[in-house]
C-alpha cells in the first residue's frame, strides 16, 4: 500500500535547562516499508526521537524529511502519522468503535467509509465483539489491539510505536509480536518501533538502531548488530546471556588471558592491551584452555547455561541442554569467535586463525 521514506539529518534535541542534548546529530534514512527498531537503555533518547518524528516534540536543530519534504514545523495533526503509545492512550469516554473512528471523523470521512474501515480493522484484530465497550471494560491485550486498530484505520504511511507491548504479560507479548509482524507484512507501512526489549528488537526489525546517551551507536540488521557490534556497548546490550568481556593482552597476534594463550588472530593487530568480547555460544569445551570452575548451572530446556569463575573473571557459556556438569567441577574452554575492542571500546573486527 502506501509507504513513505523518512530522512533524518543532524537531528538534535536540547531542552532549555539541560546541560547535554537528549539527542545529538542523529542521522538516518528509513526506507519505504521498512520496520525499524530503536533500542537503548532508558534515557537514551529513543522516545524523544520518535516524538520528534510524530511532531509532538519540537526539533532543536537538524532536519526531518518525510518523502523528501522538510516537516520540522509541520504540526502533529498535519503529519498523517499514526502512533501507538505505551499506555495505549485510549480515550476513556469513548467506545472501542469511537476510539478507532476518531481520527477518521476528524478528517471528515463519510459515515459508511468510517464504518467499513473500523469494521475491517476490528475484524483483523479480533475486536468485533467489543466495539460497543469502553476501554475500562477491556483486558490489557484488547486495549493494546484497540490502540493498534486506531493506528491501522488511519491508513497512514507511517506507524510509530512507543514500547507498545511493554504492559503485556510475557505470553501475550509473544503473541502480539507475531501479530504485529504479520500486520506489517500485509500493510507494508514504514514503521518505527521503540523498545528496550532486545528480543523484540532482534525478532522484529529489518534494521536496528542502537542509541546511547543521545548518540547512535550502530545502525544495522539484527544479524550485523549481533555478530559485528560496532563497540563494546552494543556488544553487551544485545544478547542474552550477555557477551562475556574481559581485558587481555595481545602479543604477536596471540591473545593472552592472565598468561594463558587463548586464541591466535588471523589479522595483524598491534600488540597491547585490549578487551575481548565472547558470546556465550562462542565457547568451545576443550582438553586444555581456560580452566573454569563451575559455580552454577541453569537448564533452560534446549540450552544449558554454565556460570563459572576463572581467577576474578566470571564467564557464562551456553551448551547443549542434554549435557550435565557438576557444580565445583572444572572444565576447560577456548573461544571459537571473539570481538576485539580497543581502548576507545571500538570493535576492530578480527578473525581467529582457522575461522
Amino acid at each position: 500500500m502506501n509507504a513513505t521514506k523518512i530522512e533524518i539529518e543532524q537531528l538534535t534535541k536540547q531542552y532549555e535547562n539541560a546541560a547535554t542534548p537528549v539527542i545529538e546529530n542523529l542521522n538516518m534514512t528509513i526506507q519505504e516499508g521498512e520496520f525499524i527498531v530503536i533500542v537503548g537503555p532508558s534515557g537514551c533518547g529513543k522516545s524523544t526521537t520518535m516524538r520528534m518524528i510524530a511532531g509532538i516534540e519540537t526539533i532543536t536543530s537538524g532536519f526531518l524529511k518525510i518523502d523528501g519534504h522538510i516537516v520540522n514545523h509541520l504540526p502533529a495533526k498535519d503529519r498523517d502519522i499514526a502512533m501507538v503509545f505505551q499506555s495505549y492512550a485510549l480515550y476513556p469516554h469513548m467506545t472501542v468503535f469511537d476510539n478507532m473512528a476518531f481520527g477518521l471523523k476528524i478528517r471528515k470521512h463519510k459515515k459508511e467509509v468510517i464504518q467499513n474501515k473500523v469494521h475491517e480493522a476490528a475484524e483483523l484484530l479480533g475486536l468485533m465483539p467489543y466495539l460497543k465497550r469502553k476501554p475500562k471494560d477491556l483486558s490489557g491485550g484488547q486495549r493494546q489491539r484497540v490502540a493498534l486498530g486506531r493506528a491501522i484505520v488511519r491508513n497512514s504511511p507511517i506507524f510509530l510505536m512507543d514500547e507498545p507491548l511493554s504492559n503485556l504479560d510475557a505470553k501475550l507479548r509473544n503473541q502480539m509480536r507475531v501479530e504485529l509482524l504479520n500486520l506489517h507484512r500485509s500493510l507494508k507501512t514504514t514503521t518505527i518501533y521503540v523498545t528496550h526489549d532486545q528480543t523484540e528488537a532482534m525478532t522484529m526489525a529489518d534494521r536496528i538502531i542502537v542509541l546511547k546517551d543521545g548518540q547512535v551507536q550502530q545502525i544495522g540488521t539484527p544479524e550485523e548488530i549481533y555478530r559485528q557490534p560496532a563497540n563494546l556497548f552494543v556488544g553487551t546490550f544485545l544478547g542474552s546471556p550477555q557477551m562475556n568481556t574481559m581485558p587481555i593482552t595481545l602479543k604477536k597476534r596471540t591473545v593472552y588471558l592472565n598468561e594463558i594463550a587463548i586464541a591466535q588472530l588471523a589479522n595483524d593487530i598491534n600488540s597491547g592491551r585490549y578487551q575481548i568480547g565472547v558470546r556465550p555460544e562462542d565457547w568451545l569445551i576443550v582438553e586444555t584452555g581456560i580452566p573454569l570452575t563451575i559455580t552454577h548451572t541453569e537448564l533452560l530446556g534446549a540450552d544449558l547455561h554454565i556460570h563459572g569463575n576463572f581467577e576474578h573473571h566470571t564467564i557464562i557459556l551456553r551448551c547443549d541442554g542434554k549435557s550435565t556438569y557438576t557444580i565445583g567441577g572444572v572444565i576447560h574452554i577456548m573461544p571459537k569467535h571473539l570481538q576485539l575492542f580497543n581502548e576507545q571500546e571500538q570493535n576492530i573486527y578480527v578473525k581467529l586463525l582457522g575461522e
Binding site: 498535519d78 498523517d80 502519522i81 499514526a82 492512550a89 480515550y91 476518531f102 476528524i106 478528517r107
Partner: protein, 277 residues
C-alpha cells in the same frame, strides 16, 4: 458495634440539632406562606395555619411580577454559566497545554483577582459598564459576570489530571486544539464541569448586591432585587407579611427543585471540590 454507637451518640445529637436550626427558617417560611397575617404574629406561636391560604401566592403575584423576576434570574444565570464555562475551558486549556512567556504570571494574576474582595471591584466595574452603555440591562449583568476565576481554577485542575499521552495521541490522530478541548478534555472533565455549572448557577441566582447596582427598571429586575424591593415596599404593613412569605417561597422553589433533582451532584461538588478529573 454498641460501643461505636455510644461513642458517636453526642456527635449525632449535635449534628441533628444543627440541622434543625438550619432548616427551621425554611420550614417557618413555608408554613407562614400559607398563614394569615394574624397567625404569623400570633402569640403563642401557631405552627399550622387553620386554613391554608393558597390565595397568598396569587395575591403576591398581583402586586409584583415575580414570574418575570424569576425568569430574568434563571435566564441571566444560564447565559452567565454558559460563558463562564466556555471561557474557563479555553483559558484552562491554554494554561495547561500551551507554553508561552509569562504563563505562570498570568495564572498567578488570575488567582490574585480571586483574592480581591468583590466589593473593591464594584466602582471600576460600574464605570466600565456605564461607559459601555450597559447600565440597567441584563446584558450588563451577563457581561460583568461572564468570567469566573473559580471556574478557571477548577477546570485547570481537572485538565491537569488528563494524561499527556492521551492528548499526544489525539494530536497525532489529527485533532486540532479546538477538537481536543471539545471532544477529549471537556467530556473527560464532565463531572467537574457539571459541578462548576451547578455551583455557578446557584451563585448567580442568589447574586444580589452587584445586580442591584446595575438594574434600575422593574422589567430588568432579578428575583433577588425584586424580592428586596417587594419587602421594602410592603414590609411595613403587617397584613402583607403572608404575601412576602409567599414571594420568598416562589423565589426559593427553583433552587429547591434543582437541589432535590441533583442532590447527588451537589454533595459531590462539596465533598471533592470538583477537583476529581
Amino acid at each position: 458495634m454498641k460501643q461505636f454507637v455510644l461513642k458517636s451518640m453526642p456527635r449525632t445529637i449535635i449534628v441533628m440539632l444543627l440541622s434543625v436550626v438550619m432548616i427551621f427558617p425554611l420550614i417557618w417560611m413555608l408554613l407562614s406562606a400559607l398563614k394569615t397575617a394574624d397567625e404569623i404574629f400570633a402569640i403563642p406561636l401557631t405552627w399550622l395555619p387553620a386554613i391554608p391560604q393558597w390565595d397568598n401566592f396569587a395575591n403576591a403575584l398581583k402586586l409584583a411580577p415575580f414570574g418575570l423576576y424569576i425568569w430574568n434570574s434563571i435566564f441571566t444565570a444560564i447565559i452567565i454559566v454558559f460563558f463562564q464555562v466556555l471561557f474557563a475551558a479555553m483559558l484552562a486549556y491554554a494554561l495547561t497545554q500551551f507554553t508561552f512567556k509569562g504563563k505562570k504570571l498570568l495564572f498567578q494574576s488570575i488567582l490574585l483577582t480571586y483574592m480581591l474582595p468583590a466589593a473593591a471591584t464594584y466602582v471600576p466595574s460600574y464605570v466600565i459598564i456605564s461607559k459601555m452603555g450597559l447600565l440597567d440591562s441584563l446584558a450588563g449583568i451577563i457581561i460583568s459576570n461572564s468570567i469566573s476565576v473559580f471556574a478557571i481554577f477548577i477546570l485547570r485542575q481537572a485538565f491537569m489530571q488528563i494524561p499527556t499521552e492521551l492528548l499526544d495521541a489525539a494530536r497525532s490522530d489529527g485533532a486540532s486544539d479546538f477538537v481536543i478541548l471539545t471532544k477529549i478534555m471537556m467530556p473527560m472533565s464532565k463531572s467537574t464541569i457539571f459541578t462548576v455549572v451547578l455551583i455557578s448557577f446557584v451563585q448567580m441566582y442568589n447574586n444580589y448586591l452587584w445586580p442591584s447596582l446595575i438594574v434600575k427598571s422593574e422589567e430588568n429586575f432579578l428575583i433577588t432585587v425584586g424580592l428586596n424591593r417587594f419587602f421594602t415596599t410592603q414590609g411595613t404593613f403587617a397584613e402583607q407579611w403572608p404575601l412576602i412569605m409567599a414571594a420568598n417561597v416562589m423565589t426559593v422553589a427553583p433552587l429547591l427543585l434543582l437541589f432535590l433533582i441533583l442532590q447527588k451532584w451537589f454533595m459531590k461538588g462539596i465533598s471533592d471540590n470538583g477537583l476529581k478529573g
